[in-house]
Structures are given as structure tokens and as C-alpha cells.
Amino acid sequence: MSVKEAAPPRAAPRQHGQTAKPRRRSGQWWVPWLFLAPALILFLYFKFIPMAQAVSMSVQEVRPYLGNTWVGTANYSEILSSDSFRSAMGNTIVLAIGQTFGSMVLGFGLALLVEGQTRKLTFIRSAAFLPVVVPLAVVAELWRIMYHPTSDGLLNQLLGLIGLGPSGFINDPDTSLASIAVTGIWRGAPYDMMIFLAGLAGIDRGLYEAATVDGASTRQRILHVTLPGLRPVFAILFVLAAVRGFRSFTEVFLLTNGGPNGSTEVVMTLIYKLGLEQNRLGVGSAGAVLLFVATLVLTVCVQLLRRRRTA
């Protein structure tokens, strides 16, 4: 990703120095490989072989102990034409968009509110950040209880205070996906907030001063100084959050497991069911490969857009 852009200017002077000086003595040729060996073995076993296996399983009918048979694109056409996969893909996209924008907007607002140096703000920032370090499994169990669908449920009591509800939340097909998105936003917004805060710290303070002297309102300051300064941060957060949304599994698995009535089935829960419950590893792998391609396309698109804008 951004490493690729940062690398050339960094590497260039290094190589330049290399040609000027005699080659630095760095032991035998195999020394670096010795240091790299553990990493290479583990990456091979747990990243590259599984990746290759996912691709090869996706074009085969996987039959444990019986041997696999080549089926070409049959798995892909089967999964692409199945209604459950299409609706899972739709749900995944809706969930990813909802969580991405929800967390980014809320995170940006939070970052503006808690920007500053005072001790009080540090405390608020740490408190607001806690959801990010709480294991997702705990978050899901906690929200499951808070979403209790009767009027005495914690969140329904709050809705009752403003004269609404009771809502079925995760038990009602109409609100289930939105409820999962809310949980995701609750956990994602503080993360985005932290990244925005790092971005805000990099904005030249003098620009604010100048804007104020020129009689700019707070709204104009944000529009013309803060937002342009944060553009790269927005791009990074967008990719991270969207990929996070695409791969969401744990919270959906624990909150609804795809229910009620398939209203929250996402690609990852579907793959899990295909692979583990129905033992259809080939079809499941085809789904995984498609999800990977979607993730890759999204990342590359955002990178290209970014490069064109900065160029």
C-alpha cells in the first residue's frame, strides 16, 4: 500500500551510498537467509500454501479421503448464482458501507471534540478508546444483552425514555443488520478517532491562526484547513474500515449467526457454514477467493485514486 510509495525516495540515497563506498562486508551469503528462515517457513505454511490451496480448492470438488475432482468454474458459477450468496454479498456491502461511514463520521467528530492537550481530554480519550481493545467476542456478548428485545432491555429502556420502541433489534429482520452496524460503529469509531487525532496533530497550527486572523468561522476553518489536511488520513481509514467490514465474522456469528431469516448473513458466515457445517469446501473457497478479489480491487482503486489526486 503506502509503503510502495514511500520506498523509492528512501531506498535511492542508500543505493547511491552503496556505489560510492566499497560493498559493506556482511558475512556469508547465507547469513540473511538464516535470519529469515523462521519467517519464510511460517509465511509459506500459513499464508502462501493456504492461499494456493484456497485457489485450487475453488476449482475442485473437495471430497475428503476420496480425492478431489477438477470441476473448473462450476463452484464459482454455483455460488454466484445462489440466492444465499447474493444476499450475503448484499448484506456484506451494506454492513461495510454503514460501518465505514458511521465510524468515520463519528470518529472525525470525536477527534475534533477531544483534540487538545489537557489532562481531562487524555482521560476522555482513553475512556472512549476502550471499546477497541475489548475482544470482539466480549463486545458481541455485551451488546446481545443490551439489545434484549423486550421493553425492559437496556437499550429499549433508553428508547422508552424518548418515547420510542420497544425495538426487536437483532431479533427483527428489519433492524438486525442496522443493529450489527451500530455495534460495529461503537467499536470502530474510537479507532478512527485515534487515527484522526494523529492526523490532526500533523496540521500546521499556523494555518488556523491565519484563518482566524482572516475572519474565518469555525465551519470555514474545518472546511478549508482541517479537511484538506486530513485527506490522506481519510483515504487510509476508508480502506482499513472497508476491508474490516468485508471480513466481518465474529460479531455477526455471535450476535445473530446470519438470522433472523438470513437478514444478517454475510459472506464470512456463509463461508463458515459451507465449509464447516455442510463440508462444501470447494464452494466455500470460491466464495473466499471472490471476497479476496473484492478486497484487492477496493484497495487498488483507492490507491489509484489517491495517487492521481496527489500527482
Partner: protein, 288 residues
């Protein structure tokens, strides 16, 4: 207000009573929304919560019964499993990353760029997508033909391949001045000695970053342990929460007590090492 403390909203400038009141309400609201649910979890785990509607932020009759019942259901064993996985997983990940980082940052060799790109490319590969084939690999490790399914080792070894940690170590080790290394070499220090006694001690901040980040990441793992743990003996605590919840005799208070135990380690690590954590967060976002 001086320019150095200027913020986007300019909130720090305003100190009138109205502005103060608004600020207080906003900050209190933030606290309630983000810390409130966790406070409810904390309080409920010490209360007799027998149905999901009793979750509350006001302590009623404090008791340790929830924890006692949770222990009866094997929560201590699951907690021990979690610690075992995070301990050895982190050890493996850090060891692999510092070794690889040393080679990538301090050495020049053929195919270096290829290795670097291959490792970094895995950062774009969400681990969830590899979950199914990974279980097949773990069931029959290529060449050595070991079956790690159903074992804690099966949850631990894949954690060694973590590109983020390698990236952080590589970037950090690049900044160690070459003079130090050359001086040691002239003094006759061997390759491993230079690594262990010169480079590594200078990388403590980076070790902090990958340690804290790795800890919370491993503690949060769910899908891989779920697929690997074929029986409940190998469950980690996050996995056990669901089993507890489904158990008809277990009350929500007990689930909250177990949840508290499941969140405490990573929250404590975060609170103790906030600085390293924030550094990892921005490095992860800006580099990843």
C-alpha cells in the same frame, strides 16, 4: 491562545460558563456512550443478574457468585488456554519478527525486494479469508505431516507469520547507525552477537509496539481458534463465552463475569502501555 495549542474547533479558547457547560455535557455524553456499556458489564458481573433485562450500572447487592459459577464451568481452564496461546504466540511472533527484521534492514542480498514484497502483500490478505484452507494445512502440515487440529499449538504457530510486526522491526532497525555495527564487527563480534547485543537492545521501543499490539491482536482472535478447537478442552476464553451463554442453567450475570475476565488482560495491557499502543496504531494505519 498561542498557535501551538490551537485546535480545529478552537474549543480550548472558549472558557465562558456556557461553553464550559456545553463541553461538560459533550464529554459526559462521550463517556456514557463508550465507557458506559463496559461499566454496566463490570457492575453486572458482581450482581445477581439472572435475566438479561437486569443489566444495570447501579450496584445492587455485590456478590462473587457469578465468578464462582463461571469457575465451576471451567472458565479458569479457558483463561489458562488463552494465556498459553497469547504467551507462546507472542513469543514466537516477536522472535520471528526481530530475526526477519534484522535481515531485511541490515543486510543486502539477492531477492531481498521479492521477500519484502511477498511478506508485505500478506497484509492485504485478511486472515479470515484463509481460514478454511488454513484448517486443512493444520490438519496435515505439509512435509512433516503433523496434525495440529484440536490443539493449542494449532492456534499458536500461525501467529508467527505477522507482516505488521516484521514491518515495524525492519523500519526501526534501519535507523540504527551503521557505525555501531561496524565498530562491533571490527572488535570481532559475530553475526548473532551483533544482532543480540547491539541492534536488539536499541529496538526496545519497537519491541514495545509489536508486543502490545500483538498481545491485543492475539487475545482478540476468534475465527481461527473456533476452527482449530475441535473440542472444548482447547477453547480459549472468548470462545467459551458463547458456550456459556447457550448453556440454559447459566445466567447472564455469569456470562458477564466471564466476559470481564476475557477483557481485563487486553484492557490492562492497553492502559499500561498506551504510548506504545498509540504508536503502533498510527504505524499500522499509515504503513498498512
Amino acid at each position: 491562545m498561542s498557535a501551538a495549542t490551537e485546535t480545529a474547533l478552537g474549543l480550548t479558547e472558549r472558557t465562558g460558563p456556557v461553553a464550559k457547560a456545553i463541553k461538560f455535557v459533550v464529554y459526559a455524553g462521550l463517556f456514557v456512550v463508550f465507557a458506559g456499556p463496559l461499566l454496566a458489564l463490570l457492575v453486572s458481573s458482581f450482581n445477581h443478574v439472572s435475566d438479561p433485562t437486569q443489566l444495570s450500572i447501579i450496584p445492587k447487592s455485590p456478590t462473587l457468585d457469578n465468578f464462582r459459577v463461571a469457575f465451576d464451568h471451567g472458565v479458569l481452564r479457558y483463561l489458562a488456554n488463552s494465556f498459553f496461546v497469547v504467551g507462546f504466540g507472542l513469543l514466537l511472533q516477536v522472535a520471528v519478527s526481530v530475526l526477519a527484521g534484522y535481515a531485511l534492514a541490515r543486510k543486502k542480498f539477492r531477492f531481498m525486494t521479492l521477500v519484502m514484497v511477498a511478506i508485505l502483500a500478506t497484509m492485504m490478505l485478511p486472515e479470515e479469508i484463509l481460514a478454511l484452507p488454513l484448517t486443512l494445512v493444520l490438519a496435515d502440515l505439509p512435509l512433516v505431516h503433523l496434525n495440529l487440529m484440536g490443539t493449542l499449538a494449532g492456534m499458536i504457530v500461525p501467529l508467527g507469520a505477522w507482516a505488521f510486526s516484521i514491518l515495524v522491526m525492519t523500519e526501526f532497525m534501519k535507523d540504527v547507525p551503521p557505525e555501531l555495527e561496524e565498530a562491533a564487527r571490527i572488535d570481532g563480534a559475530g553475526e548473532f552477537r551483533i544482532f543480540a547485543q547491539i541492534i536488539l537492545p536499541l529496538c526496545k521501543p519497537a519491541l514495545g509496539v509489536i508486543g502490545v499490539f500483538g498481545f491485543t491482536m492475539i487475545w482478540d482472535q476468534y475465527l481461527l481458534p473456533l476452527l482449530v478447537a475441535t473440542n472444548s478442552n482447547a477453547y480459549t476464553l472468548p470462545l467459551a463465552l458463547r458456550t456459556l451463554r447457550i448453556d440454559p442453567v447459566v445466567t447472564p450475570g455469569v456470562v458477564m463475569a466471564a466476559s470481564l475476565l476475557a477483557l481485563l488482560p487486553s484492557v490492562v495491557v492497553f492502559l499500561l502501555f498506551q504510548r506504545s499502543f498509540a504508536r503502533g496504531l498510527t504505524a499500522g494505519a499509515l504503513k498498512g
